[in-house]
Symmetry: C2
Subunit: 697 residues, 2 copies
Amino acid sequence: MAAEAVSSSLPLRTAKQDEFHPLAPLSAAEIGDAVSLIKSQWPAKTDIHFKLVTLEEPAKAQTVPYLEAEFHGYNLPKIDRRAMVNYYLRKTSKFHEAVVNLTQQSIQYNVRLGPSVHAPADGEEIIAVEHIALADEGVKAEIAKLQLPEGTKIVVDPWIYGSDGVDDDARMFQTFLYIQDPENQGEADSNHYALPLAISPVVSSETMKVIRIDHLPTGKDNTIKEPQPWKSRPGNEYIPEAHKLRTDLKPLNVVQPEGASFAVTQQGTSNVVEWQKWSFRVGFNQREGMVLYDVRYDGRNLFYRLSLSDMNIPYADPRHPFHKKAAFDLGDVGAGVMANDLKLGCDCLGTIHYLSGTLADEKGDPMEMPNVVCVHEQDAGIGWKHTNYRTGRAALVRNRELVLQSIITVANYEYILAFMFNQAGEVIYEVRATGILSTQPIDDGVEVPWGTVVHPGVLATHHQHIFSLRVDPMIDGYHNRLVYDEALPMPRSDFNPHGVGYYTEETVVETSGGYDVDFSKNRTFKIQNADVRNPVNGKPVAYKIHAPAFQMMLADPESFHHKRAEFADHNIYAVKHRDGELYAGGRYTNQSRGGTGVRSWADRKENIVDEDLVVFVQFGINHIPRIEDFPVMPCEIIKVSMKPVNFFDKNPAIDVPPSTQEFNRSTLHTEAHNQGSTVGEVKAGGEVCCPAPNSKL
Amino acid sequence: MAAEAVSSSLPLRTAKQDEFHPLAPLSAAEIGDAVSLIKSQWPAKTDIHFKLVTLEEPAKAQTVPYLEAEFHGYNLPKIDRRAMVNYYLRKTSKFHEAVVNLTQQSIQYNVRLGPSVHAPADGEEIIAVEHIALADEGVKAEIAKLQLPEGTKIVVDPWIYGSDGVDDDARMFQTFLYIQDPENQGEADSNHYALPLAISPVVSSETMKVIRIDHLPTGKDNTIKEPQPWKSRPGNEYIPEAHKLRTDLKPLNVVQPEGASFAVTQQGTSNVVEWQKWSFRVGFNQREGMVLYDVRYDGRNLFYRLSLSDMNIPYADPRHPFHKKAAFDLGDVGAGVMANDLKLGCDCLGTIHYLSGTLADEKGDPMEMPNVVCVHEQDAGIGWKHTNYRTGRAALVRNRELVLQSIITVANYEYILAFMFNQAGEVIYEVRATGILSTQPIDDGVEVPWGTVVHPGVLATHHQHIFSLRVDPMIDGYHNRLVYDEALPMPRSDFNPHGVGYYTEETVVETSGGYDVDFSKNRTFKIQNADVRNPVNGKPVAYKIHAPAFQMMLADPESFHHKRAEFADHNIYAVKHRDGELYAGGRYTNQSRGGTGVRSWADRKENIVDEDLVVFVQFGINHIPRIEDFPVMPCEIIKVSMKPVNFFDKNPAIDVPPSTQEFNRSTLHTEAHNQGSTVGEVKAGGEVCCPAPNSKL
């Protein structure tokens, strides 16, 4: 087969402009096309409520040859473009899943899903539910009992209903009510989470009516009280106008006088990023937000696909209706659709490149999502250093990172999600939790062991944040294995007479399943390619996973929380790859029952040695609220990193140019510390920092 | 008592210029004074080898009233200045400890220490030992057997001998030999760690002569071989000239156009730092390097003293002489004396303020240590964010950090040590390990389970890095307690019918001892002041400790490693404060036996509830070397953080001014992404980011 020369300014990566890359998100035109195809399946005036119109990724067996051909500059195989569509017949519970083949203009399948399979919420729906709750006569009557001051604004936060097995087959919303501070009327951004009410209407998704009004317990037990006349209490605003701001913070700018070191090439609806030997493709979709594909370093295969698979936030209050609170912020809503528009200079610092996305709204019309991912570099301190004490010469490089960041707002909470890369071949996934605690009312003077009073009358219940990062590896090839190393003490013996020896032992993970770290043994998981050996020491090339220790889901194994968040009980899940198995909590998480997520896939007990395997890495925190988390919480930062182990033949950052004053242009704080002639001396070329003094061996 | 008005540009913090602050390091004059006083105790021509001339901190019972008077602007009590001096009568093993009262010009005590108490190494001594080993006829004869190419440079790395109970009472050095690449002669910074030799002379400290020549085992067992003729093997250089450097990294500058936001006020030999409501005093001494005193936020007491207490690096090879390798880099050498001179623009980025120190050399002369600490700010991403989805308005602040950084070189290794502070009242201590692995020779084709071959013929043995941070708290006052919270599942019951409830339970640590984290229970340690209650929720004010999980010392409890590194077996040690108990591994670690460190203090089993307690926080990594760690390792980063819990009445960073483009001055990567009128629009005053769109409730 003659290789077709593919020429471009990017020697290795091209896709013809009139063809879509198989992993590129759907274009606006394709969305329209998919929607038309679906509509054509129904009578002309059928009102269809679209929940999802997204790329159906091709089978990996097709995509891998495409990526390899693309990398090597060969002819590109043709792969049909397909869309996954979820929709309701509006105002019914008839929920459908369809896959349409856009290339063939045909319906691959179009099925109605079972009675207790429900769609995620969408933005229009949320707003409609808010209005329905506020307009309901029964709700109004309850609110009237509060005798609120005139003009008080009531705010409705609709929540995914959750699951408890008690009359919960139908799709519903549990709404939580708040007021905005009556003393601060006119402030549209007044923080309603400071003033929660105990009235909680339940809205049926099918009828779009209030079907029940729950009342929240506000004491130490399940006692419900009639709504009482409102007693004035203070607000707690987060907006800057409400505070006497600090005046002594001076600007800090990140300036890149020659521009950024990365190159972003837009190819239709996806983007190729190249930076410091890294290259990868970025996609964006409704559920996962940003997804990275075909991640390589110096042309070597590393990761086929990287994405946040889901997160689960179970709450600790056992009482109705709080016992149902366990949000899947991706499956129940979507990290793509909830992504913030990152305005220049506010969310990201330095020389920024924005990526935008196109999703579909509930009518099936394309919906532009501008600036949902920002791409920029940051300096992360020293990368490596050594000073030869005999000569005084220091060799030093700085650690430059590439950041792809997206921020999602899920009602009260924010999550800042970032993929980061550095010059030492390391990949970091970082989550920052911020935004506002979910609050509920509590009687004055009451304390409970499942939450913290963060404001008079306001309880923030304990909750866990458990994230699942989906890692589909291709470490130097497509057959990998998962192993773990442990460091174990040697027993005392003639060989170890002083009791100090220790050794490492590697165990191969043979079967799909859930596995845990164990810091007492330094148990470290690595994804290896047993067929590719390090040229220096003969060890199999690998990437190790650094995941922080965390307390896994506390809800017991019989609970719905546990059954549904299938990833939340182990640090690592490893499974054999199957197309479509992307979401660790299952495809449809809203009011789910479990059984369709990673634990279930792992239970197939398949061989995963030297296979196409996928690893899910769990990480998280148990959030025990404190006063300092209110009215808005300082970021809590959690990271997972993946680092090369015997993959390279030396430190991959050894060829980073040395850190010099000419390059970095730092300044002295005061003239009194002027170091003489080395300050401000700009020399052409790469003058090495800290020239050696004359003393030499 | 009339308060004496103390006026200054710093309203709260002054010390008269002609008096030393009681916690300020010794000045050059004071060093000279202490040395004279000691010399006067001996016959005039006695050659004294000084090992330490440092501040002897006053009793805390004296210093606390001083600090409180200083803070409130009252009369300052007078406190005598004292120096701790360690010295040998040169070329003997007569090691002394003395405390001299500089104010009274008297000797408080001057004692000879026991026969197996030894001083740390010093720079002159290290160089002398190198020369002695190279000049020894026996060593030369062994080297001759290698038949090295003419002009080959031999390098001697002297190591602290270590302890094993085998004829190890006398002070000795174990030296490890290397050569520099014969193919790269003339390069003074050629990396000798790539070419280790199996000849290991032992030098007596007292006679300064080689007393024994060990040979290193180079196979899988204890077999020692005669030195064989050298077979040529490749080098492995880290200096930039040896590499084809990347050419595509563009500069990234941190520019602070209005200067830095911190103020550093030098007062004699110490410095007061003020930044974003933080204030503290910085000292610097031979052993600990930088020490922070009197750390306050918004005037409230937080930490009396913060310092790195010691670190221990035990190695995994059980064979002689490696079984003795367990370095205490502070106690055996000193983080102050090993501190790098941080050249402008290389080690630290932005607007930098340098702090310098004065130590004493082995003659007792003052030794200036310029630029050993750099002070600067850094942007650490978003501090907090919330977007009100109903209005679209985002409130957002960035996370600015203050960094005090010092870098120490301990022969092959570097440690980058930093205290960091942020605007949310958090303190972070960060260690980055970098530099060069300690290497030993290994025969070709051999693998061992206690190390990794990182270069042909070069083994890097596994080793642990265990650090101990000494935290002397004064959370809102001087009587604190240590507690821990655990998050526990509620059993199923009528109250918890769905099995989802969980609660937190607090346990008071009553007695001094060693304690551990337990992530399965989310066990979190907090330092509390039970007498000061949060005004919102009545909880005691506290700071919690976030220490990462790590594998504690693997050497068994009967080993010298375990006995000596008294901190290395628990995540937390808590003890009642006693003056002078600063070093968790004991005061004299060189060839120590144990029994004088934190485990021993804790064994006093004292009450530490509502007491003056001190907490030692351990953290670390088990370093299993990989190819990527050679010839110099990318930084491995470990952090401990301390965060307020119910200490404030809301998020302490709520009053940070909002992040705006005017302030941050980010730039767009390409013109194609111009966002229209919001780009480049500079408005006077604090225009809030992302002005709300018109849609409001």
